[in-house]
């Protein structure tokens, strides 16, 4: 079994579900699936102009891994443009910044759904928790 993928942190998911070419004669109807972390990589590197090391730290992955995600993102976008394909965003291996917490006592990672009012660790009920972001 290969090593499990570390989750990539995404600060905000893309605000769109996808992009579709218009004015094309025949839209190739198999969409390109852009993962959330790939969108995030493009955003950090090309929109916020961070260097790869800073961006990698923000996403909680190593610099080489960031470079791979970024490269895959660029290739997918290029493919969509050249082959007039639709781009669809899919979740991928991301975790979203705001909903996840880390317990400093038992190191569990958990969500707190809006139906719960208490901000305690889901496993050991410790109050020593922090939202996962830097």
């Amino acid at each position: 079994m290969p090593r499990r993928r570390r989750l990539r942190k995404v600060v905000a998911p893309p605000a769109f579900k996808g992009y579709r070419p218009y004015g094309a004669n025949n839209i190739n109807n198999e969409p390109v699936e852009l993962l959330y972390e790939e969108y995030e990589a493009i955003k950090l590197a090309d929109y916020e102009m961070l260097n790869h090391l800073e961006a990698a730290e923000l996403m909680g992955v190593s610099r080489p891994t960031f470079a791979r995600i970024y490269e895959s993102a660029r290739r997918k976008i290029a493919k969509a443009l050249v082959e007039t394909k639709e781009i669809k965003t899919v979740y991928g291996h991301a975790w979203l910044d705001k909903n996840w917490f880390n317990c400093k006592d038992c190191h569990a990672i958990f969500t707190i759904p809006k139906t719960l009012t208490e901000q305690v660790c889901a496993l050991c009920s410790s109050k020593n928790i922090e939202p996962i972001n830097k």
Partner: protein, 104 residues
């Protein structure tokens, strides 16, 4: 309140299973009655959609908290929609009884 722990076996000394949709068993722990029940996962060997089917099953069982090693993207979306709390532990050395002792 019902909590589900993904398990590799049907006894409390079984090891915790890091997978969610394809976990072998689910341990359902009810913290009001202290009841522990094991349910076999019929989706463990499903070709696809194991996470989605399992999430639907969790909603059916009225589970409020799920402890597993990881959740797939579709499972995450669904569970979030139904306000089910997800807990990720990345340590497969735990047995089911260790985890129950922690959440009691």
């Amino acid at each position: 309140m019902k909590t589900v722990i993904t398990s590799s076996g049907n006894k409390v000394d079984a090891k915790f299973d890091l997978r969610f949709g394809r976990a072998a068993w689910f341990c359902v722990f009810d913290d009001t009655t202290g009841n522990v029940e094991f349910i076999e996962n019929e989706n463990a060997n499903a070709g696809n959609g194991a996470g989605t089917k399992t999430s639907e099953k969790m909603v059916e069982l009225d589970v409020k908290k799920i402890i597993s090693g990881d959740f797939g993207p579709k499972a995450k979306d669904l569970l979030e929609k139904f306000d089910i709390q997800m807990v990720i532990i990345q340590n497969d050395e735990y047995s089911i009884s260790d985890i129950i002792a922690k959440i009691k």
